[in-house]
Structures are given as structure tokens and as C-alpha cells.
């Protein structure tokens, strides 16, 4: 085999003075970067061994005279830091390979690396997680307001501060009637809806893409926090049934694990049209990941590839979407909201309007920073638009058409902190979904290698020795803490804004200002520039 042009991007540096040779890192690395030196030699010897017994003797002598130690094959390292985080002696560091390419603003190192890789393999570049390119962030160019004098800020620690939110259709108005006893009571029957104690939910991540233990952590945290998780398109494992009331069950183009019980069990049924990381692209769970658990949950044979087609082959047009929406409503007796998830693309406002008119109760819009278990890199990094503008234009379009109440909007795709949450809500989101942030809470270091199935953190893998690293109870605690911390921060933000309820921020774009945005961008976002008063 010809020598690769690809130098390692990062170097695993083991401090031999600190290392006590416990071997934890060797067992820990899902990508087999770290090895015992003796084993490594043995393997390398093996490649030259044919008929050369004397080499074996040489090897035997070295092993006998040299104490074993740990070596690293940096070319395999995905920079997930599992070894760094777990080395009891702090002996491991991962540093960027200082190999200096000739400075070039156009031909960056990663372009060259990808070309070498494709030249050597002829493959489509595969990646995981979300778009990591230096696109302009609208979140980072919007700032929130606060009260001074003319209206008071509110103290969120002492005074009531409400984050309770709802997903589902709302009527434009309510009707009341008088009972024979003269009491006023509600006459309107409300459409199905779901109550959230905080406007943050966990988005679709399938069992298959992530481990069952991680799904369990999401389920427990969703229940503890009064919010929702999403099965993704991999069905619902029976261990999650107790949490089904806090789960969105997804129906994607592969229809894995979808049966009447699945639909009825969930709190919301969601049709997945697209996701922000790969708009217009299907999915492919390789057969190696389809073990007995995944097989059972997805209802496919063990070892069979699980292929999600790019489109739903029963939806080639908007009226077909309406047909599927009502098929799901029929199957769930019209007592559950139906969500439609789309990626944020250029014409997202018109598409969302069509989805609302097609009968969806919730529209989930996933921006181009949204994560994925596996996607072609070119799609992930070059297709779709930022969630901020998508959300702003959808909310405004639905309002102009007078149909904003027909649907709730869930925004996702690159939400990093509660400030992003508050800004998304001010732009008009009913709730946001946080995928990457939630995985980071569980240890994910955004190494973008989810598709390898070797996730050392036990998140994006089905290898039992790795998935065992995710304790669902501990995971649920971490996720619950994260939601509590963000919710507290949202309350701080609301208090500063002089509001004590999240619905008074929702869509209140007067409380946002743009910094360094063009007139046209400000108009699209529906906000004023910083410095302009009310």
C-alpha cells in the first residue's frame, strides 16, 4: 500500500514521567489510538513476519529486556479527549500537530487533507455533528434589552417567574358559556397540546445513532424537567415505555419501528422531512450497528442496513404531506399534536406556511448548524441557512397570513447557551431543541466522528464496552442540571427584561437589537439596530 499523504492532524502526547502504566487509556480509547508498546511491536512484527524467524527472536529479546509502556498512533486520534479526561495522572495531552503548511488563505490545510483523503479513497467525505465552518452567526450579532427606570426589572430569585410553554395549535379566540348555575365556563374545546415546564426540548436522536443508555438519560431528564425527548427515526425501545409521555415519536422516510403502538405511545408524532445538517439527504445506519437491541427496536433483522431514503416516498408534494399528517392523526385518534420537522432552506417561510395549512400542529425548523450522526461533509457545510433568519421569516410569514396560532414553532440547530434560547424565543420560537449541547453535557467533545461507531464516550456507538460508560442515572442528572441552569438563566434574562412570563418575550422582537447587521438583515430578522430606541 502506498504511503498516505495525510499527516495526523493532532498528536497524542504521553508524558512518560507521569505515566504509571495503568492501561486505563488503552482500554478507554474507542479508536484504538493507544496501545501497549509490546502489543504494538507484535502487530508490526506480524506484518514482516513471513518466514523470518530471527525477527521473532529479536522481538522476544526486546520484550524480555524492555518494560512495557504506552504508545499512541496519532493518525487514528479523533480528538475526543476521552483519554485526557480519564488519565488519573494527567499524563496525556492532545495537541494540534504543528506541521506547518505553506500559509495560504485559500488553500487551507483541511481542504488539502480532504483532497488527499479522496484521492486515496475515491469516497464521499463523511462527518458527524454540525457545520463547523466560520459562517457569520446572527445569534452573536443580536443583543437583548433590559429595563431601566421607566419599567422595573423583576427579581427572578424571589418573585414568580414562569417558563411554562405549550406546543400545539391554539385557536384564535376562546368561547365561554354560562352554566345553568350562572357560572362562566369554557366552551371551546382546545386542540391537542403538550405542556412544557421549560421551553427547551431534546431533539431527534435515534437509538442506533446514539446508545440506548443515552436515550434513557434523555428520557429520564425529560420526565424530571417536564419536557420532551425525541426518539429519532429508530423506534422506541421497550425500556423507554415508562417515559413515553415525554417522548416525541418520529416517523421518517425509513419508517423504522413505526407501528400503531409506537404512534399511540408517544406524546407527539413527528414527521421528519429533513434535518439541518443534511437537508435533502437520507440516512444510512450500517448493518454492523444493527445489533439485537437496535434490530428489535427498529423492527429489522440483525445486521441489516437501515436505510432512510432522502424523501418520504409517500410525500412528493404538499398535499401528500397533508395526507400523511392526517393519517397520523387518524392513527392517534386526534388526541396528539403532529409535528413536521424540516431543515432551514431558502424558501423556508413559504414551506412552513404550507405545512401549517397542511394541518401540522408543530413545525420544527432545524438550522444549518444542527448536528447529525452522519452526513456528507459537503452537504453539512454548504447546504441550508442559519436558524435565526429561518425562524424570523417563518414567524413573520405565519403572522402576516394570520395562521401563526395554527402551529407552534420549535427552533433548533446550533443553540449553545440560554442567551441563544432567549434570542430564538424573542424572534418567535415557542420552544427550542438542543441536541449537540445536550450531548456535550454527557461528555461529547464534538469530535465529529459519530459515524465511526467508536465513540469513546459511549454516546454515538453500540459497542457494549463503550455504551456501558454512559450511566443513564448520571446522564439524566447532568442533563437535568443543564436544563435547570439554563432555565435559571432564562429567568434572569426575563427579570432583566421586566417580564415574569416567557410568553411576554415570545415574538417580542422589540427586545432585540442587531449589532453590525445590514439594513436588509435587520429587516429579515425584524429587529432594529442597537442604538435605535423603541
Amino acid at each position: 500500500m502506498a504511503r498516505s499523504y495525510l499527516p495526523p492532524e493532532y498528536i497524542v502526547d504521553i508524558n512518560r514521567d507521569k505515566c504509571r502504566r495503568c492501561g486505563l487509556c488503552v482500554r478507554g480509547c474507542g479508536f484504538s489510538v493507544l496501545k501497549w508498546a509490546h502489543t504494538d511491536w507484535q502487530e508490526k512484527m506480524g506484518t514482516f513476519k513471513d518466514g523470518q524467524d530471527d525477527l521473532g527472536v529479536v522481538y522476544q529479546r526486546i520484550v524480555e529486556t524492555t518494560p512495557d509502556y504506552i504508545v499512541a498512533d496519532s493518525s487514528l486520534c479523533r480528538q475526543c479527549h476521552y483519554c485526557v479526561s480519564h488519565c488519573p495522572e494527567g499524563a496525556i495531552n492532545v495537541i494540534k500537530n504543528p506541521v506547518a503548511y505553506r500559509a495560504n488563505e485559500h488553500w487551507a490545510a483541511h481542504h488539502m487533507r480532504n483532497i488527499w483523503l479522496q484521492a486515496e479513497t475515491g469516497g464521499v467525505l463523511l462527518t458527524g455533528s454540525g457545520n463547523d465552518k466560520a459562517y457569520f452567526s446572527y445569534f452573536d450579532h443580536m443583543v437583548l434589552d433590559a429595563c431601566q427606570v421607566t419599567n422595573p426589572s423583576i427579581d427572578p430569585l424571589r418573585e414568580p417567574m414562569e417558563l411554562r410553554s405549550f406546543l400545539g395549535e391554539r385557536p384564535d379566540g376562546l368561547e365561554f358559556e354560562r352554566t345553568p348555575e350562572g357560572q362562566v365556563r369554557l366552551k371551546t374545546q382546545l386542540p391537542p397540546h403538550v405542556q412544557l415546564e421549560t421551553p427547551i426540548i431534546f431533539p431527534a436522536m435515534s437509538y442506533g445513532a446514539i446508545s440506548l443508555n443515552v436515550q434513557k438519560a434523555f428520557a429520564m431528564a425529560a420526565k424530571a424537567s417536564g419536557t420532551l425527548m425525541n426518539t429519532g427515526e429508530g423506534g422506541m425501545h421497550q425500556d423507554l415505555y415508562p417515559y413515553a409521555d415525554h417522548m416525541i415519536v418520529q416517523v421518517a422516510s425509513g419508517r423504522f419501528g413505526v407501528n400503531p403502538g409506537y404512534l399511540r405511545r408517544g406524546r407527539i408524532a413527528e414527521i421528519k422531512i429533513g434535518q439541518g445538517a443534511k437537508p435533502g439527504i437520507g440516512g444510512h445506519l450500517p448493518g454492523e450497528k444493527v445489533d439485537s437491541g437496535v434490530s428489535q427496536t427498529r423492527m429489522i433483522p440483525i445486521g441489516s442496513d437501515a436505510i432512510s431514503p432522502a424523501p418520504h416516498h409517500d410525500i412528493y408534494s404538499i398535499e401528500d404531506l397533508a395526507q400523511l399528517i392526517y393519517a397520523l392523526k387518524e392513527a392517534t385518534e386526534y388526541i396528539k399534536p403532529v409535528s413536521v420537522k424540516i431543515s432551514a432552506v431558502h424558501n423556508v417561510a413559504a414551506i412552513a406556511s404550507g405545512i401549517a395549512r397542511a394541518g401540522a400542529d408543530i413545525i420544527t425548523i432545524d438550522g444549518f448548524r444542527g448536528g447529525t450522526g452522519a452526513a456528507p461533509l459537503i452537504i453539512r457545510d454548504h447546504v441550508g441557512i442559519p436558524i435565526e433568519v429561518a425562524l424570523a421569516t417563518v414567524d413573520e410569514r405565519l403572522r402576516r397570513e394570520g395562521i401563526r396560532n395554527r402551529v407552534s414553532i420549535v427552533a433548533s440547530g446550533g443553540i449553545r447557551h440560554s442567551g441563544d434560547v432567549a434570542k430564538a424565543i424573542a424572534l418567535g420560537a415557542d420552544a427550542v431543541a438542543i441536541g449537540t449541547a445536550a450531548l456535550i453535557a454527557l461528555g461529547c467533545h464534538v469530535c465529529q466522528s459519530c459515524f465511526t461507531g467508536n465513540c469513546s464516550w459511549g454516546i454515538a456507538t453500540q459497542r457494549p464496552e463503550l455504551t456501558a460508560r454512559q450511566d443513564p442515572e448520571r446522564g439524566a442528572e447532568l442533563l437535568t442540571n443543564l436544563l435547570r441552569g439554563w432555565s435559571r438563566e432564562l429567568k434572569e434574562i426575563l427579570g432583566a427584561l421586566g417580564l415574569n412570563s416567557i410568553e411576554s418575550l415570545r415574538g417580542s422582537r422589540l427586545r432585540l437589537r442587531g449589532v453590525g447587521l445590514s439594513k436588509q438583515e435587520l429587516d429579515l430578522l425584524g429587529i432594529k439596530p442597537a442604538g435605535e430606541g423603541a
Binding site: C147, L174, V184, L497, G498
Partner: protein, 366 residues
Amino acid sequence: MREGMVRIPSGCAISAIMNVKGIRFNGEAIIRSITCMHERSNGLGGGFAAYGIYPRFRDLYALHLLYESDRGRIDAESFIKDNFVVEHSESIPTRPVVSITDPPMFYRYFVSVRPDSLDALRGEDEAELLVRATMTVNNCIRDAFMVSAGKNMGVFKGVGFPEDIARFFRLEEYEGYLWTAHGRFPTNTPGWWGGAHPFGILDWTVVHNGEVSSYGINKRYLEMFGYHLTLQTDTEVVAYLFDLLHRRQKVPLNLVARALASPFWKDIDRMPEEERAMYKAIRMVYGPAMLNGPFSIIVAFNGGMMGLNDRIKLRPLSCGKKDDFVLMGSEESAIRSIVGDLDEVWDVRAGEMALVQLEEGGVAVG
């Protein structure tokens, strides 16, 4: 720069007095009460709403208009004649007041709706026609502004301290059974008479103290239902919310109050099943209409008034009762400046309303 081009935060004083038997009395009392709270306004806005003042034309809509040029008057009058039968019109009598400079012209028209205009509405009622006419005048006719458009009532307002505005409009010469007043403390100089308060739509008038922090979404919510908010004031928002919820959607008044100053979830969660479902629905559906932040408001209409306080009572509102009179004010002293020996005095609690209506005689709280 004038009202509507920017949003001007204001602090304020409000007061109201009503005779529940409908006996009419002149403007002296309300003037005395709002004058008592002189410190709460800064001379940049004052106004009054008076009910029962036009018994001669009680069945006609009394249109109060403000004109800043003859052109405005000619355009507005031609619009009025196109849509209404004008039974009587006149300029609103005023007197010169030293502190008041450069006032606009004020006219009033007592009108009925032309039958053919109503036909064109295809089933909508007269009220809708009046609302649309008001919006047309205020949005489309330059130099003209519809100050009020209800039956047997009128709004008198302008730039100045409320007591000076009262003398300017000779309010001591009018007799009504219900009066509300507003003294304004805007944070900069609007200098436009139309922007003063009360703000009215049909016979609904609103006086308001405080600045709501949810204005942004309240406005967008109303816009979804076709309202054009030209003044950028909370008062305008409150008036339109009452119009939308009560007139158009027929939500009972006490529940409109609950939608605008909703109970907290912790309290809703403790309610009995049916009530809980109702309040949950109110918050789900009318969440964007909720007024969040400090306010006390008095909404007046033909036949009654209601005082409402925000959810955590960030602005004051006192009520008093003496014989057939019910009084409200930002300060107890404002009430006592009218009647010293009240039978009863109380403060409106957070998120609750004091509804006072004609004839039925009593005061319903809550």
C-alpha cells in the same frame, strides 16, 4: 418627532369617578382629583373621558376630531359625510389658557351610520364600521385625528397639565355620570395632542399608569388581527385588546381582565379541575395579549368602568366608595380630594379588577 414615530415611555396619574345611579355631575370633581396628583405628571399630557355628556344626541355617535390644518378638516369631513349621516356638527368650545400654546382645532360631529355603508359591511355590525372609520382617519388622513367615537361620551385631551387641559375644554360646563382623567409624565416631548390620553375606540376609553414590558408582542399579536397601531402607546394596545377580546371575540369582561393580567401557574395549578382548564386555556390562547410589567388602568365604557392592576402590583390603584359614587385613583389622596369621608376605601389587588356598572348598583370585585 411625534407620537407614533417612536415609543415614548411615560409615568402617570389616573383617576375616575362614577355615579352608579347614572346621576350626572360636572367636571369639577375629576379635575380636583387629578390636580391633587400634579406631581405625577409633568405638563406634557393631560386628558379626560366623560360619559353621559350628550343626552340630546344620546343615540348618535359623537365623533371628536382634532385637526392640525384646514386641509385635514376638509378631508376628514368629506370622509365622514361619505360614511355617516351628520345630524349636527360644531367646533368644540374652548377658552384660552396661558400655559397652553398652539392648540389644534377641535370639532365634534353627531352622526348615524348610513344604511348603505352598513350594507357594504356584509353582516358586520355598526361598531366595526366605526372602528374602521377611526383607523382610516388616523392612518390615512393627514392632519386629522379621531379622538373619540362613542355614543353620548367624549374624550378631551391635549398637551399640558390635566388641570389646564380641563380649563381649556371648559369641562366644568359638562355634566356626566362617569369621568376618567389622566396626567402624563412622558420621558420626552411628544408635543402632539392626539398622543395624549385617554385613548379611545368606540365608547371604550383607557387611562393607564406604567409602561408594560410586553409591548413588542402585544403589538404583533394585535397586528395579526388587523389592527394598525399608530401611536405606539400602551394605552392604545390596551384599548385594542379590549376591542378584540370583548367586542369581537365576546370574552366576558372579567375574563378579559384575567387574560391581560393572568393568574400565575402556581395558582392555576391549585384551582378545581374545570376552572383550571379554563385559565390554562386563557393563558395558552391569550398569552401574547398578556400585559407584562407595571400597569394600573381604568377602562371606561358606556355604563361602567373597570380598574385593573398588573400581576404583581407594580403600580398603585386605590378605590373608594361614598353613597352612589365609586372613585378610583393612583393615590388615595386623589380620591379623598373629592370626598373626604369615604364609606369604604381599598386597594385593587394584583391581577384583579374592580368592575363598576350602572344600575346593578353594586361594586363587583374580582
